[in-house]
């Protein structure tokens, strides 16, 4: 009896002492076990992703050298003779991501500043659901919009030269940028809302205008959260599949011109994987190797973003 009392007071810290039941309730323990199992499903998911990626990737690199994969400038795994330089896919991913980010970061940040610092409650109540709807639109719809409306529009208004091709990185990037605005805006707004009101009041008391308070007090104070929002936005742009597959084409080449067709890592996975590829074939391993690279890149960015969010939470909450 004394042992259980001691254990209880040291283990939970609550002053339960001898009030604790000496006989365990087995039903409660079973429930605990079931709940823990449910929580472990998320761990199993990550393990499953890594487990499904590693064996084919290892097999891939037994036949293709790291050197060829990371420095080769031609990606033609489905042709004979095949070549496995991933640079064209990385360049395509980079170009489209940069365009998307150039749209999403300013618009998302400004929208967040407006919602957090300027908007009256009623204005917020109208705009926030609209951002939620924008975030909920399926990416295949964005892709259709980019291909069917944005590209013809760009081709129509292009002032010099031939303008964008039917499949091009520009339209895909622009539309993807709009798709990411809600992600950036809502995370950045969360960070700015966490900035204590006293900081704003102090600046107002010193005679600052609302713009100065927003730009010199709130944004710097929420900076780690805002950067986290940017990083997550970039990560989403890198991982986005349907817009790119539909509107940017599936033509891998080391091509920095966004007016032409280009391919990304995700577009290759979608294109090569959507046929029925036999497990034993080398194409199967190629798809998994590119997926492993994509997972590694986005994993690093997500980890950065999570760490940054944690930083501002520690400071203000």
């Amino acid at each position: 009896m004394t042992v259980t009392a001691e254990k209880a007071s040291t283990a939970s810290g609550a002053p339960r002492g001898s009030l604790r039941r000496s006989r365990p309730r087995y039903g409660e323990l079973v429930v605990r076990g079931i709940l823990l199992t449910a929580a472990l499903v998320s761990i199993l998911t990550t393990v499953g992703i890594v487990y499904s990626l590693i064996p084919p990737t290892v097999a891939f690199f037994q036949q293709v050298s790291f050197d060829e994969f990371f420095t080769g400038t031609s990606w033609a795994p489905l042709f004979k003779p095949a070549s496995y330089g991933v640079l064209p896919l990385l360049v395509g991913t980079l170009v489209i991501t940069v365009i998307a980010v150039l749209v999403a970061i300013p618009l998302g940040l400004f929208a967040a500043i407006y919602l957090s610092e300027y908007a009256r409650p009623r204005v917020r109540k109208t705009f926030k659901p609209m951002l939620e709807i924008l975030a909920g639109i399926p990416t295949v719809v964005y892709g259709f919009f980019a291909l069917a409306l944005v590209t013809p529009l760009l081709r129509g208004i292009w002032p010099v030269g031939d303008g964008p091709a039917i499949f091009n990185g520009l339209a895909a990037g622009l539309v993807m940028g709009v798709m990411i605005i809600p992600t950036v805006a809502s995370l950045a707004e969360d960070a700015m809302s966490a900035v204590p009101q006293s900081l704003r009041d102090g600046a107002y008391a010193l005679g600052s205008t609302r713009m100065i308070v927003s730009l010199r007090v709130v944004v710097p104070a929420a900076l780690s959260g805002i950067v986290a929002a940017f990083v997550l936005g970039v990560s989403r742009a890198i991982g986005e599949t349907m817009i790119v597959t539909i509107a940017a084409g599936i033509t891998p080449s080391v091509n920095w011109n966004p007016l032409q067709a280009m391919s990304t890592m995700t577009a290759f996975i979608a294109q090569a994987g959507s046929g029925d590829i036999p497990v034993a074939s080398f194409d199967y391993k190629t798809v998994f190797a590119v997926a492993a690279l994509l997972f590694a890149i986005t994993f690093v960015m997500n980890a950065m973003s999570i760490r940054l969010v944690r930083k501002y939470r520690e400071v203000y909450e």
Binding site: A39, I43, S52, L107, Y118, L131, V141, I269, V287
Partner: protein, 304 residues
């Protein structure tokens, strides 16, 4: 020297308490800044409106009964429909709900009510979930292909799609359920425990009923994400030509986003119109689900 208006003493209380402390003359830079901020927000809204109007106008000629009464037809676009895709979407949504809602809600209960945050494995579960929420959806397709389809031997069937999508939206369900559970005040918990209820009785009889509106809202949003998702299903065999409705867990299937993708890739104009019409149907379903979610949130959510 200065009239009362210049000094800025308000004759009557204004909406914004702060404004009378500021200068009465509007600063151009301030106005410009506010204009730019508002414009950034409006661009998104204008884009949304353009998209909705464009899809409706383009798809209007084919927004009729053929769309849900007929099956797909490659040769005769005027007779093509999306019945198999609509039924497939309903099947996938129900199966996904059956799998991901229990797992997600139970995981949320564990993390909010039982998990000891000082233990490393509980922190690992939390960190892992945050990361999973940001993993690209096509990587889930790889998981579905490598583990669910091949290792479990379920093949590229409708149950494989449902399991994969369940894992994809699990973080959304967990985060929403956790927030709903956290919003239930501790006094209810303490009251129930003080009356002699066990922990699980407290959760089942007090906390869960109080958290249901929040959980329902989050669950509907998660399911609406699942039925709009196309990328992982590309890898899971949904692109093949399907001219029948699913009839079992292992049957071949297609869903609306994949059918739309398939039509977008066809070069004939009729298929582009069909794609727009199918998008209109998909968006209508999603908007309906969103409205239900918002209705539940506003109608049933208690303010403590």
């Amino acid at each position: 020297m200065s009239t009362p208006a210049d000094v800025g003493i308000p004759s009557q209380p204004r909406e914004d308490r702060r404004s009378w402390l500021g200068p009465t003359r509007r600063r151009p830079l301030e106005m410009l800044f506010q204009g730019v901020l508002l414009a950034s927000l409006v661009i998104g809204v204008v884009f949304l409106a353009t998209l909705l109007i464009y899809v409706l106008v383009r798809g209007w000629p084919r927004l009729d009964a053929r769309l849900w009464e007929n099956f797909n037809s490659i040769r005769r676009p005027e007779r093509a429909g999306a019945q198999a895709a609509i039924f497939g979407t309903i099947w996938v949504m129900l199966l996904t709900a059956l799998i991901c809602l229990p797992v997600g809600i139970l995981a949320a209960i564990h993390m909010e009510e039982y998990a000891d945050k000082t233990k490393w494995w509980n922190r690992a579960i939390e960190l892992n979930l945050q990361n999973l929420a940001a993993v690209p959806s096509i990587v889930y397709g790889i998981l579905g292909l490598g583990i669910v389809a091949r290792q479990f031997g379920l093949g590229t069937s409708i149950i494989t799609a449902a399991i994969t999508l369940s894992l994809l939206v699990l973080p959304v369900v967990v985060v929403a359920s956790r927030e709903a559970i956290r919003a239930v005040p501790g006094s209810i918990r303490d009251g129930s425990l003080a009356l002699g209820a066990t922990k699980w009785q407290t959760i089942r009889k007090q906390i869960l009923p109080a958290a249901i509106p929040g959980i329902a809202t989050g669950s509907i949003l998660a399911l609406s994400r699942a039925i709009g998702e196309a990328a992982p299903l590309l890898l899971l065999g949904a692109v093949t030509f399907v001219a029948f409705n699913p009839d079992s867990l292992t049957s071949a299937y297609t869903v609306l986003p994949i059918q739309i993708y398939d039509w977008i890739r066809q070069s004939r104009e009729e298929f582009q119109v069909l794609a727009a019409a199918a998008i209109a149907v998909l968006l209508a379903i999603l908007l309906l689900m969103n409205s239900v979610a918002i209705y539940i949130r506003n109608r049933y959510q208690k303010r403590w």
